[in-house]
């Protein structure tokens, strides 16, 4: 049973790991391969700050809220494990700021210690009159992806540095199931007009005195189009750009100025911070995550694709819940192919 995963960002690697963990013991013939043209530190996941936080509203997409919760709980469970540092996993508290009262988010009971900001706290942020404080998690891509890669390599999963041009290409080589975790470039494999870039740009600075994340919201401009500051273990990420439909991965001087000025206004102490790096990336945005099976007929063979892409700006936030869902879909494929007597369970 040959399974090929396309994409080596957080979605591809975690889906691969989840599937291998659950099925390698049950399916002795399982061979897992990962194909990607970009590996860490050059994936979209590497550019993300790594803060676990969903969007403000799930737009009724309860499935995504559940995946987010499963991811948070999974990571929280790993917090005290010796692997946490290597994974780039740690707790972090911080602020979400608004210019007007807003309803509580779907994730208020998932994070720890969620509460509204007090008037004294709001004094820190002139221009903002309402906000939240909570403790969440950081999962830094630059550590997590190498950690996932090591776990996969230890398990004998093979990596191929290659741009896959079509699902067909893999099926004709004898692959039985393809996991499409190709993020932004899924459209190259199968057109999907719903998948659009949500371009972001960030400035990485040295500001180790910043111990909280600060995310501002401008309900008119939309998510991540308002300044945010996210301290990592080495660098602090400054951002606040979300440009729908912009495919450019080049840094823009105009966006740089907008990020720098707005973040320094938010946190005057940043004026003294040293700029270390600048990066642009494309959030693979979609009205909802595409996480589903697709059967593809090839002559008299039936090939299976499991799609797992379109996580926008919440890939890290939802990755493990999605990986488990992808693994469940894989389990049902195995059952149909009679590779498994019954699906392992009750809960994957």
């Amino acid at each position: 049973m040959r399974v090929a995963v396309i994409g080596a960002g957080v979605i591809g690697l975690s889906s691969a790991l989840c599937i291998h963990e659950r099925f390698h013991g049950l399916v002795p013939s399982l061979e897992l391969e990962i194909y990607a043209d970009r590996f860490t530190p050059h994936t979209t996941s590497d550019g993300a700050a790594g803060l676990w936080q969903p969007y403000l509203s799930d737009h009724g997409n309860l499935q995504e809220t559940l995946w987010n919760k499963e991811t948070f709980d999974y990571l929280l469970g790993h917090l005290h494990s010796p692997a946490a540092e290597e994974m780039g996993l740690f707790l972090i508290s911080g602020y979400n700021l608004f210019t007007e009262p807003v309803p509580d988010p779907s994730w208020k009971n998932i994070v720890l210690g969620f509460r509204n900001l007090t008037p004294k706290e709001l004094e820190l942020f002139p221009g903002y009159s309402y906000g939240w404080f909570n403790t969440a998690l950081m999962l830094e891509g630059r550590s997590y992806l190498p950690w996932l890669t090591n776990r996969l390599t230890q398990r004998g999963v093979k990596f191929f540095h290659k741009k896959v041009e079509s699902f067909q290409e893999l099926f004709s080589q004898g692959v039985d199931v393809v996991l499409n975790c190709s993020g932004m470039r899924s459209g190259d494999l199968q057109p999907d007009p719903e998948l659009q870039p949500g371009r972001g740009q960030i400035i990485k600075v040295l500001a180790p005195w910043v111990k909280h994340f600060i995310i501002t919201h401008n309900l008119k401009s939309g998510i991540y189009n308002s300044p945010y500051v996210i301290p990592g273990s080495k660098f602090t990420v400054l951002g606040g750009i979300y440009q729908h439909g912009n495919w450019s991965e080049e840094n823009s001087a105009k966006d740089h100025k907008s990020i720098w000025d707005s973040c320094c206004q938010l946190l005057p102490a940043l004026q003294k911070a040293k700029i270390v790096e600048e990066w642009s990336g494309l959030r693979p945005a979609r009205p909802s995550v595409r996480l589903e099976r697709e059967s593809v007929r090839l002559g008299n063979l039936q090939a299976e694709v499991i799609h797992n892409y379109g996580h926008g700006g919440f890939g890290i936030t939802s990755h493990w819940g999605c990986a488990m869902a992808a693994a469940r879909l894989f389990g049902s494929i195995l059952q149909e192919k009679k590779q498994l007597a019954t699906p392992p369970g009750p809960r994957l």
Binding site: F90, G113, T135, P208, P268, A269
Partner: protein
């Protein structure tokens, strides 16, 4: 008295902040700081600098609260300015956890720190040995940066600073009109204060930049305080111990206790061990006194004995000491004008 000459003895957080307050309240004063140690070799440099007050048994609570409030307000403004990183002042959130529910519901300072509330059940799950806790956000003064920033502010006002060991306050009477005694533990010898006693603290300063939150055991013995570059792990409270030498067994014990609160500290690097003697007293001595010897008078303002709470109340006590200096100057000016008559 055109330009009263004030000597501040001591260059830890108390000496430097008191000197600065004096320059602010009495711009005509000429202030000189004298100390045998300056940053990074003061007791203040060993401390983490967390704004979590110590309760002095014999100082009225309202006075301690006032000191803390003034200090917090002062530092809060700096933390929110462009000078924050240079001054070493930053906000930090975290938890104080208790193995058994504390007697007092709310500490006196709960409405001064930010967002103070009891921890939720979910938050307490991170601390299986603890049953109760408080979550809040407070400020931290990193040293040396904060002391160096105070020194810089002082130099800008024209304040001179000299390395000098003062063995007797009377040494200063011919050069200075008023002496301010901010000698911390040194006051035991310098003014013979037997109510002052050391409480030895050993700490580890480690590299663990993923630790963004403080954790403190309500017993005050085990704590994890993340600073700008290093995390301070503590600690000990050894009353009556004068030893400034690090103890290896204590180092292991501190490390183990902190790792049980925060397991990821196992990965901490670059462990540095430091020892400081908290200059402890049942009440902080902020008081003026006129020393007298052979017909000569020497006004002295004392500001020492802050023990475990120096950073938390430093600005408040510095303000009070500066006010006392102002009173001494008025008294001196009063008597000199009487002398003229």
């Amino acid at each position: 008295m055109a330009s009263p000459k004030v000597a501040v003895v001591g260059a830890g957080v108390i000496g430097l902040s008191t000197a600065l307050c004096i320059t602010e309240t009495c711009p005509s004063c000429s202030v000189t700081v004298l100390s045998d140690q300056f940053s990074p070799n003061t007791t203040s440099d060993v401390a983490a600098g967390m704004l979590i007050p110590h309760t002095y048994p014999d100082t009225p609570i309202h006075r301690q609260k006032q000191w803390f409030k003034e200090t917090f307000t002062y530092l809060f403004a700096i933390s929110n300015s462009a000078e924050a990183s240079e001054a070493g002042i930053h906000l930090v959130s975290g938890w104080q956890v208790f193995k058994s529910t504390p007697k007092e519901e709310l500490p006196f300072w709960s409405d001064i720190v930010l967002g103070f509330r009891p921890m939720s059940k979910a938050e307490l799950q991170k601390f299986p040995q603890h049953r109760f806790g408080h979550a809040f956000t407070t400020l931290k003064c990193d040293c040396p940066p904060y002391l160096l920033w105070l020194e810089k502010r002082l130099k800008a006002t024209g304040t001179q600073m000299y390395t000098r060991k003062v063995a007797d306050l009377w040494e200063l009477h011919s050069e200075y009109d008023i002496v301010v005694n901010c000698t911390g533990m040194g006051a035991h010898q310098l003014v013979g204060d037997k109510q002052l006693f050391p409480v030895r603290g050993q700490v580890l300063k480690v590299h663990a930049p993923w630790v963004k939150q403080f954790i403190r055991d309500g017993d005050g013995l085990t704590y994890i305080y993340p600073g700008i570059h290093r995390v301070t792990l503590g600690g000990t409270r050894e009353e009556g111990s004068w030893s400034l030498s690090p103890d290896a067994g204590t180092t292991t014990d501190i490390f183990d206790r902190c790792c049980s609160l925060e397991p990821s500290l196992q990965g901490a690097q670059d462990i540095e061990v430091k020892v400081g003697l908290r200059p402890s007293r049942h009440c902080v001595r902020v008081q003026s006194e006129v020393l007298s010897q052979g017909g000569v008078k020497l006004p002295v303002v004392h500001n020492y004995g802050h023990g475990a709470g120096g950073f938390s109340v430093h600005r408040g006590t510095a303000n009070e000491a500066a006010h006392l200096v102002g009173e001494c100057i008025s008294a001196l000016q009063g008597s000199s004008s009487r002398a003229k008559l």
